[in-house]
């Protein structure tokens, strides 16, 4: 028997499908031993096969004799100087321990008890066996592409989407209006605004300061009843004029608080 190298790979051997219960292929070339020993896939696999050889329900197997059989196998392999994978040896050591524990009186056993460990092993074997059988039944079903077939040349279904475009008259007309509005040549015109020049503010403020020695609020220097736009311009010009007069020493400025009314009076000569 030549070792198969394709453990987990798909093989093309059709006959092998039926050989479900047969030996598995070896994990790798240097583990060819398992082919000699029937090709197990790990210690649990070997244990399951040994358990099945007891030819009883998996729930009734004798764990003790199972352990003996396993240890015998391992001893035989060692006698043949076959290199065993570590997990087989680990399992062997564990089973040897389990065997000695099982033979101890119950009260001398540690936790977990040997019975529990044995039960655990039995449950694992049952579960593996169940899945192995399930896999075999699954593979034996009538399979699509092998036993049953889809239609060889289906015509196929196609849905062609077609758009029905929607647009309202108003949207159309408004769009045109927007294009025209957006792209019309833009002419910027600065409007003719009434302004008070700094010069006229200077002469106006200094003239008014000459009338009295009292403090006056800046607002009082503005032309009354003026257009609001002119008022803004006059306020700005008068403010600059007041600063200029203060700089020249012709006026005193006072402001009691930030943003408070600005007051001014003629500087004492």
């Amino acid at each position: 028997m030549s070792p198969e190298l394709t453990k987990d790979l798909i093989t093309t051997d059709p006959a092998a499908t039926e050989e479900w219960e047969g030996p598995a292929s070896a994990p790798s070339e240097n583990e060819a031993l398992y082919l000699e020993l029937d090709g197990w896939e790990g210690p649990l696999d070997l244990l399951l096969d040994l358990a099945r050889r007891q030819k009883v329900d998996l729930r009734r197997i004798s764990i003790l004799s199972l352990v003996d059989q396993y240890l015998t196998y391992i001893e035989r392999a060692e006698a043949l100087r076959l290199e065993l994978a570590a997990d087989y040896l680990v399992m062997a050591a564990w089973l040897a321990y389990l065997k000695s524990s099982l033979m101890l009186p119950r009260e001398e056993q540690e936790e977990p008890s040997a019975e529990e460990l044995a039960m655990r092993l039995q449950l694992r074997l049952q579960r593996l066996a169940a899945m192995r059988d399930a896999a075999a039944r699954l593979m034996g079903r009538d399979r699509l592409g092998r036993d049953v077939f889809l239609r060889g040349a289906p015509e196929g279904l196609r849905v062609d989407r077609k758009n029905r475009w929607q647009c309202e008259w108003f949207d159309l007309v408004r769009a045109y209006g927007q294009v025209k509005a957006r792209t019309a040549p833009v002419v910027h015109m600065v409007r003719d605004r009434m302004v008070m020049t700094l010069d006229s503010a200077l002469s106006r403020v200094s003239a008014m300061l000459g009338v009295t020695l009292d403090w006056m609020e800046l607002r009082e220097f503005l032309p009354p009843h003026a257009d609001p736009r002119l008022r803004k311009s006059a306020l700005a010009s008068s403010f600059v004029a007041a600063l200029e007069l203060a700089r020249m020493g012709k006026a005193e400025l006072a402001q009691d608080e930030v943003f408070g009314p600005l007051r001014l009076r003629r500087a004492a000569a």
């Binding site: 060889g152 758009n163 929607q166 647009c167 045109y176």
Partner: protein, 209 residues
């Protein structure tokens, strides 16, 4: 219940179904061990008559096919109503007001490039047609509206489109700057003017077709 076919008919039925190309009676026969399959094929053709699928013979080869009167089921058209994008609406409006007009002219009027899909959409909608070529260098294609365009928008002719003066009267021609100016002067009365949202005419432009 229908009467059940015999094993040979069933085998022929399955073979014919699984075949990837039309197949001769001889080939089916060879596949099934040499029996005469002609009667079975005729029985199948009879059975399927009036059903949604049919067994037919063409030039000596047999195959299953979807029944001819249901062929429309294989290719269905589904209509979806979609709104014209702003770019497409503008382009359509320019074609309507200026036709015939080239793409370069449309772009000059719109002030932006026209995405390739935009004119395609209008052609697909059936509202715009290619009206020839302009006899200038490069001979650009020129576009015009169609009768479907008039029908869709309820126009008896292009003359029914409102003129520039009417647009102006309706406020649809107000340049953006005027609208802005109006808002600013209004803002001098209300302190929050600057925090107001921009007017409609400033809406961001959507170029997607």
């Amino acid at each position: 219940m229908t009467e059940l076919p015999d094993d040979l008919v069933r085998a022929v039925e399955a073979t014919l179904f699984a075949a990837e190309t039309p197949i001769t009676a001889e080939a089916i026969s060879a596949h099934l061990g040499g029996v005469d399959v002609k009667p079975a094929l005729h029985e199948l053709a009879m059975h399927y008559a009036g059903r949604g699928i049919s067994v037919v013979e063409r030039g000596g080869r047999w195959h299953f096919q979807t029944s001819a009167d249901l062929a429309h089921l294989l290719r269905r058209e589904r209509e979806e109503t979609r709104r014209l994008s702003r770019a497409a609406t503008e382009t359509l409006a320019i074609i309507a007001y200026h036709e015939p007009v080239s793409r370069a002219e449309i772009e000059a009027i719109r002030g932006v490039q026209t995405a390739k899909g935009t004119l395609d959409v209008l052609l697909e909608a059936g509202w715009v047609r290619v009206a020839g070529r302009r006899e200038v260098p490069g001979r650009p294609v020129i576009y015009a509206t169609t009768n479907e365009f008039l029908a869709h928008f309820g126009l008896s002719s292009r003359k029914d489109l409102p003129g520039i003066d009417e647009l102006k009267a309706a406020g649809l021609l107000d340049p953006v700057d005027n609208a802005l100016e109006e808002m600013m002067t209004a803002g001098e009365k209300t302190a929050e003017a600057s925090s107001e949202s921009a007017p409609d005419s400033l809406e961001s432009e959507d170029e997607s077709a």
